[in-house]
């Protein structure tokens, strides 16, 4: 898994270099949203925030490094007639996403994306989870000015933990500001 992540980051670095030579489209954008824990009875849902920097290498492909942080909610259960609360995980992730197409420029954009990243989940009383994770989903880009667009995405994050995984459905909204047009 670590090798795959290293290769993905290497590909990103090489790709970014090639793109610079050809005149890349580069943007940056904060985003926020909500993570829903799937099939996990020991942690809740929670907000997610982050930043992305899409680099449009060629017309078909955009590579997008990202950083995200999520504060997952607590879980409250009743056992033996008494109520107990388990603190949810704090999750941080960084990695790179490949997007089919571009997120900026003119017109409404629909695009699929898939990525790989390094995830860290921590909470009191649990061993830290530091594993490779994957994400994929669909995004919509809506123009909001000459250099800006609104980005809405829905997808799935999956952190592989040995033979099992922790999965989150995510819905986010953010903006993308084009720093370089790529023309």
């Amino acid at each position: 898994m670590k090798r795959a992540l290293a290769l993905a980051l290497l590909a990103l670095a090489v790709g970014a270099g090639a793109a610079q030579a050809a005149g890349p489209g580069v943007g940056i954008g904060p985003y926020g949203g909500y993570n829903i824990a799937l099939i996990q009875q020991d942690t809740g849902n929670g907000s997610v925030f982050g930043v992305r920097a899409p680099v449009n290498l060629i017309p078909l492909i955009t590579v997008e490094p990202y950083y995200a942080t999520s504060n997952l909610g607590d879980v409250t259960e009743k056992f033996g007639g008494l109520s107990y609360t388990r603190t949810g995980f704090d999750m941080k992730a960084f990695g790179a996403t490949a997007i089919l197409g571009s997120v900026g420029g003119g017109g409404l954009k629909f695009y699929p994306y898939a990525g790989i990243g390094s995830y860290k989940m921590t909470r009191t009383g649990s061993d830290d989870i530091k594993e490779t994770g994957y994400n994929f989903g669909l995004g919509i880009g809506v123009p909001a000015g000459p250099k800006m667009s609104v980005q809405m995405r829905g997808g799935l994050d999956m952190i592989v933990t040995g033979d099992t995984s922790r999965k989150f459905a995510s819905a986010t909204i953010g903006i993308n500001y084009n720093l370089m047009s790529g023309k």
């Binding site: 259960e77 033996g80 008494l82 609360t85 388990r86 898939a114 999956m158 592989v160």
Partner: protein, 179 residues
């Protein structure tokens, strides 16, 4: 450049390929313990745990992969005149130890000490409880969960003499399963 079209589908395929990882999750199983009062004036208190009586455990037994979270919960009252640290010990097979010495000699410390002042009564918090598990105890517990699901636990204290009561005791397990 058109050759690069494979990148997103390839990443999607990489995500989908490990199917056993996709079809997985974390299930909470709780095992209620009898209310009891124990002291050094009597034989140690034990509970024979049989997870096969829990339907969630039975439903996912063949798909068990690990132990994600664990907690001993309940309300503990120190009936004595000195501070105590309550501990839970376990044995893999069925045992019937009579004294704290036999328990510590033949068992594995699972949890504790949960410290209580003289005369104090306190509900064990889930977060607090999760921090009190020993590595060796957790490993043995995982082994038993993956095995026959049957083991014996003992409640003692880390002092020479003690008397305490446990009400609404529960062993809560969060188990990783995967197809």
């Amino acid at each position: 450049m058109k050759n690069l079209r494979w990148i997103v589908p390839a990443l999607l395929l990489a995500v989908a390929a490990p199917g056993c990882v996709l079809v997985s999750g974390q299930f909470l199983i709780d095992f209620n313990l009898e209310n009891f009062t124990t002291s050094t004036d009597t034989v140690v208190t034990r509970e024979d745990v049989d997870l096969t009586t829990k339907s969630d455990y039975q439903d996912h037994k063949d798909d068990l992969k690990g132990l994600s979270d664990v907690a001993v919960l309940g309300k503990v009252t120190n009936n004595g005149a000195t501070a105590i640290g309550v501990e839970v010990w376990m044995t893999a097979g069925p045992t019937a130890y009579l004294t704290p010495g036999q328990v510590t000699a033949g068992g594995t410390k699972l949890w504790g000490p949960f410290n209580l002042a003289a005369g104090a009564s306190k509900q064990v918090g889930w977060d607090e409880s999760a921090k009190l598990f020993s590595s060796a105890g957790k490993a043995l517990l995982l082994n038993e969960i993956k095995g026959d699901g049957q083991f014996t636990i003992y409640a003692i204290a880390d002092t020479g003499t003690y008397t305490f009561t446990v009400d609404n005791g529960v062993l809560a397990l969060v188990i990783d399963f995967g197809k």
